[in-house]
């Protein structure tokens, strides 16, 4: 409904459809400042993120429309000079990839708002921080200027500190500090890389620039690429939970409140993969070629390592955090495989993991909210007492172990098929290692399902747990629908992504 209205508005006024992705959350935040109490706060943020979702959906259609008539790399571009001296622009634009990720963000954010419907402690501040985070993410996905991108990146990361610190549980201060420092440290490394790229962006003569599309036309000298690719890659990949820099994620997730875990695992961690792809690999292709092997080792290790790490965990959130390490390791792995199919898989995996893990955290939150424990050994037979939540949990589990009919499958298949395009023993072994992760994944997922959901009811107190509420249901469905949709009819999505990969192929391969 909303998006029709909005779309009409845009058609008529032909406004800059992308900047709204930043302005609307900002306006929502401003509105939130004047709210009083939980009721108003949540309504406002709900409306805000609903509009956002509307815009995202509208964007998808608009994108297809535009794509038909416009075959430039980025569409809906807008370019405003910001700092003339440094040739910094507020430059935005989207291609299929960013459109998909924007949609993901919009959905997850809305779901997050629903999930935190009963956030009693400092609700206003909570929603504000949540929306600041989302603003950062939106901005990151739409910007095609390294500086702007970097700014939004940090805007997205820093609210995590307060979100975990204030509303978290357990050793929240510790986790929050650890998470923030590791991510900011990474972004610090990234900054050097970005500057490196910037000062080599005039290699073919011409002015220094931060604009990704312009840099992509430049042949940055190989020495520079060799030096700055690792910096840029690691800088982003830490956020993508690259082994061995993933340790912030288990603690962070475990301590974070539900909605935050959702946003963080579902959306924020995608910035990592996206950045790696859009910046590190797109701008420094030869560097990528050169360091390929090294990071493939790390990524593949991460995949299998995360999976094994998850097997023995007791805390639901830890399990999920480690599975994220594994799944996102898959993303990085696929990106490094340097071919179209694998890249497509990587993007699909980002999306599908975004939805799945968000769903997982939502469910964990509900279970925790009811049973007040996340220790699976203390839980049991939940299928009997909270059938809906448990059933969805099973489905999410099956989706995450790559069952056909769900998003995970198509993503992984693309990755594997893509990875298999690379001849050579090294690639083969790496591929087979990562493929074998699907078995381990099955093991830890079914372990949880077996212990927690099935079996006899362990605790008498569980026999009368409150059933699922409407807002919880809404949140769940918001996330479940895309998972299934992607899994059943992947064609349009994967094709949208595939044709956006062309420039990368020309640049990198």
């Amino acid at each position: 409904m909303t998006f029709f209205v909005i779309s009409k508005v845009f058609r008529i006024k032909n406004m800059d459809i992308l900047s709204l992705f930043v302005t609307v959350p900002v306006l929502t935040i401003l509105a939130l400042v004047f709210t009083k109490g939980l009721k108003q706060a949540r309504i406002v943020s709900m409306v805000g993120s609903l509009i956002q979702l509307g815009m995202a959906i509208n964007l998808v259609f608009a994108y297809f429309k535009e794509r038909a008539i416009n075959d430039s790399i980025m569409v809906f571009t807008k370019n405003v000079v910001w700092f003339e001296q440094f040739n910094i622009h507020y430059a935005i634009g989207v291609d299929g990839i960013s459109v998909a990720l924007l949609l993901l963000t919009a959905i997850v954010v809305l779901a997050g708002v629903f999930i935190s419907w009963k956030m009693t402690d400092l609700p206003k501040e909570f929603f504000i921080s949540l929306l600041v985070l989302s603003t950062g993410v939106y901005g990151f996905f739409i910007s095609i200027d390294l500086f702007t991108m970097f700014v939004f990146y940090e805007i997205a990361v820093i609210p995590m500190y307060l979100l975990i610190g204030i509303w978290g549980t357990g050793p929240k201060e510790y986790s929050a500090m650890k998470l923030t420092l590791m991510l900011m440290g990474a972004s610090a490394v990234l900054l050097v890389g970005v500057l490196g790229i910037y000062f080599n962006s005039n290699a073919d003569g011409g002015a220094l620039t931060f604009n990704i599309l312009e840099i992509a036309q430049v042949n940055i000298p190989f020495e520079a690429q060799k030096l700055f690719f690792p910096l840029t890659f690691i800088g982003f990949a830490v956020l993508g939970a690259l082994f061995p820099f993933h340790t912030w994620s288990p603690d962070g997730h475990a301590s974070a409140p539900t909605a935050v875990s959702m946003l963080h695992a579902g959306v924020l961690m995608k910035l990592g993969g996206y950045g790696v792809f859009r910046v590190a690999m797109y701008l420094l292709p030869e560097g990528a070629m050169h360091w390929d092997w090294f990071f493939i080792i790390l990524a593949a290790t991460g995949v299998i390592y995360g999976a094994f790490g998850a097997i023995k965990q007791k805390d639901l959130k830890y399990i999920n955090a480690y599975s994220s390490v594994s799944h996102l390791g898959m993303v990085l792995f696929a990106l490094l495989m340097l071919n179209k199919t694998a890249w497509n898989g990587a993007i699909l995996q980002s999306l599908s993991h975004g939805f799945m893990t968000a769903l997982f955290f939502a469910l964990i939150g509900m279970i925790y909210g009811r049973t007040h424990t996340r220790d699976i050994t203390k839980l049991g037979g939940l299928l009997k007492v909270i059938p809906f939540i448990s059933a969805i949990y099973v489905i999410a589990g099956l989706a995450s172990l790559g069952l056909p009919g769900f998003s995970g499958f198509i993503a992984e298949m693309n990755i594997f098929v893509g990875a298999f395009q690379n001849e050579g023993m090294f690639y083969r072994i790496a591929t087979i290692i990562s493929v074998s992760a699907i078995v381990v994944t099955a093991v830890y997922i079914l372990r949880v399902v077996g212990i927690m959901l099935m079996g006899p009811v362990k605790n008498e107190a569980f026999l009368n747990l409150p059933t699922v509420t409407w807002y919880e249901k809404t949140g769940i469905l918001l996330l479940l629908i895309p998972i299934v949709a992607m899994g059943v009819a992947p064609l349009w999505l994967s094709d949208m992504i595939l044709d956006s990969l062309q420039p990368f192929i020309q640049r990198v391969l």
Binding site: L403, M413, N414, F420, V435, V439, A442, L446, G450, L491
Partner: protein
């Protein structure tokens, strides 16, 4: 000739599944039962209609049964490689349609009685429909990836159905085991698919199986460790099949799978899903046969033979009737694999192929019958164990009769269906590989023996005193028994080779009398032996068991394979690897990150004395700083 309507066959059960799944709580049990049955019977009718259309209306085109494919792109991998969704119609897929639909329908009907009053009634039917959907999809799959997709789906529905009694820990464990073992096998399958896809550039069965196609002709192009990569791929794919069809050594999940409700065992773990492996090999038969002169095919043959022997031996010693049947299933599947393994391609050479499909068909019928019969017994005495049974023939005549028919059939007694299919298999083996033939014959004997051990153990033997007298099951349960019994009796006379053959041309089959006589003799002697041991209550069997001593014990404990697997997974993988990785992560990886942070703080503690609060120290630092800097840089300036 358009077969697109075939997609209805899987879709109807799927719709039913969604219906029952989503409105689980709202729909009354009785209603859901009807919905399920109706849905499935529609599919069944359609299947039969299709079969009729295909074989008799459409028939052969210049002497060959055509392979008809209707497909649409589902997802693009590369410019050349894509996953299609479609239906592939050829003799074996039709035959599988028939098998699946009949058994599934029977089981549906049967379950209405068997599951009556169970709280999860609707859920049960939902899962059954889900399974039927996946199985139909599997048999109709037009390419490797599609078959893999439904392969996984049947796997998961089997998981759900084995774990149907999810409050029972044993059931949960069994379900988990089944899923993970098959998943492990599927890993091989998947890698195989990837290799095929990469080296042949297609997933489509049509292209792959074309004997003149590039896929088959260029098998030698790339090789790895002395074998063609294609061969490796086929071996890996066979691993997948072996997992589903419970071939040694991936069989361990099948016996435990009996934790599921008996109709499920009948449907999934006897008649349909477990034959998927056989079907897969049959699907790719031309590849198996032509690539590297059937190297992979030999592996199939030997694995099959060994499994059938191995399972038969174990079956003799089991006391849980469902487990006996489970092992017998495994052994029969071995038979089918063996048959495929020894088969040739064109004309009468391909008898093994035909026989295997034939046996698949007949076995599905009488094995389902056996399970359903066992189910009705269990229903009556509320126990799975032979020791709680005996002399039931008086109480439940129909079950007794049907069970007997099935037992005779599986033992291969003339003129029941089992006889014909088994005979063809032995013929094929006899013509190609004497060793395997020997194994086949021996297994035939064993089969007859353990089946009648079972039969007598249930219906004759000691006259157990029951607390409340067991009674014959209701019509809803006995009806399927009768139907299946009839099929078992007569299906042997179908001229199978007319319809199904490796080269799709079809050929005449004649009974090979020596083989037939020998096998019949073996079967009968097996039966006789069993009669002596078990018809009347006596201690012969125990003496006999003692005579074998340890061998018997090992067989009874399934040669300790579960324990070995347990050791590998639990001890090594989980407790060593996973545990240590978890530790490693906390201690080392996280430790370093922590360490960096803590070190900084420590350092700042260490250097705090510099800020001593004494102006003179500051001044000293000041002067020293200036002097040092000055000296250093002047020195540097010097050179």
């Amino acid at each position: 000739m358009n077969f697109t309507y075939i997609i209805l066959i899987p879709l109807i059960p799927f719709v039913v599944f969604l219906l029952l799944g989503i409105y689980n709580k709202k729909i009354k049990p009785a209603v859901s039962g009807y919905i399920g049955v109706t849905g499935l019977s529609t599919s069944t009718l359609l299947s039969f209609y299709t079969a009729y259309q295909y074989f008799f209306v459409h028939g052969k085109v210049n002497g060959v049964y055509q392979t008809l494919v209707h497909k649409t792109t589902w997802m693009n991998f590369t410019d050349t490689l894509a996953i299609d969704m479609g239906v592939l119609v050829d003799p074996i897929s039709i035959m599988m349609l028939i098998v699946v639909s009949i058994i599934s329908l029977m089981v549906h009907i049967y379950s209405r009685g068997y599951m009556k009053g169970d709280e999860g009634y609707t859920r049960f039917f939902a899962f059954l429909s889900l399974f039927s959907f996946s199985m139909f999809g599997l048999v109709l799959a037009a390419n490797l990836f599609q078959i893999y997709i439904f392969w996984e789906l049947v796997g998961v529905s089997s998981y759900l159905l084995i774990g149907y009694y999810y409050t029972k820990n044993s059931a949960v464990a069994a379900a988990k085991k089944a899923f993970i073992v098959t998943r492990f096998a599927d890993l091989g399958f998947l890698i195989g698919i990837l290799m095929v896809g990469y080296y042949t550039g297609t997933f489509d069965f049509e292209t792959l199986n074309n004997p003149e196609g590039s896929a088959i002709l260029n098998w030698a192009s790339t090789s790895f460790m002395g074998l063609s990569v294609i061969t490796w791929a086929l071996i890996l794919i066979f691993i997948g099949g072996a997992g589903k069809s419970a071939m040694f050594p991936l069989h361990i999940w099948l016996p435990d799978a009996m934790e599921g409700p008996t109709p499920v065992s009948a449907l999934i773990h006897a008649a349909t899903m477990v034959v998927a492996g056989v079907y897969l090999v049959a699907r790719l038969f031309p590849m198996y046969y032509f690539v590297e002169d059937g190297f992979a095919l030999n592996i199939v043959a030997y694995v099959g033979a060994f499994s059938s022997l191995f399972a038969a031996i174990i079956a003799i010693t089991q006391t849980d009737i469902k487990r006996v049947l489970a092992f017998s299933t495994m052994s029969q599947l071995g038979y089918m694999m063996l048959a495929l393994g020894v088969s040739g391609y064109d004309g009468h050479e391909g008898v093994g192929y035909m026989a295997s499909m034939f046996h698949l068909f007949t076995h599905a019928m009488f094995k389902a019958l056996l399970f359903l019969g066992a189910g009705s017994v269990i229903h009556a005495v509320h126990s799975n164990y032979l020791k709680d049974m005996g002399g039931l023939r008086k109480y439940m005549p129909i079950t007794n009769a049907t069970f007997l028919i099935a037992a005779l059939a599986i033992s291969g007694v003339f003129p029941l269906s089992g006889f014909w299919s088994k005979d063809e298999i032995l013929v094929a083996a006899f013509e190609h590989n004497k060793l395997i033939y020997g194994v086949g014959v021996f297994v035939a004997g064993l089969t007859a023996f353990y089946m009648f051990r079972l039969y007598f153990g249930i219906f004759w033997g000691k006259n157990t005193q029951y607390k409340h007298a067991p009674h014959e099951s209701p019509l809803s349960m006995t009806f399927p028994l009768i139907v299946l019994a009839l099929i078992t009796v007569f299906s042997g006379f179908i001229p199978f080779s007319e319809f199904i053959s490796a080269d799709k041309i079809g050929f005449e089959t004649h009974i090979n009398y020596p083989v037939a006589l020998l096998s019949s003799f073996v079967a009968v002697s097996g039966i006789v032996l069993a009669t002596i041991f078990y018809k009347k209550e006596n201690d012969l069997s125990d003496k006999f068991a003692k005579a074998f001593g340890p061998l018997y014990k090992w067989a009874r404990d399934k040669f300790y394979f579960d324990e070995i697997y347990m050791f590998v997974t639990k001890k090594i993988l989980f407790n060593s690897v996973a545990e240590n990785i978890a530790k490693f992560d906390k201690k080392i990886v996280d430790g370093t990150m922590e360490g960096i942070g803590n070190k900084t703080v420590v350092v700042s503690e260490k250097i705090k004395r510099m800020q001593s609060g004494k102006v003179q120290d500051y001044a000293f630092a000041f002067i020293a700083g200036v002097v040092i800097i000055a000296l250093v840089f002047i020195y540097m300036l010097g050179n």
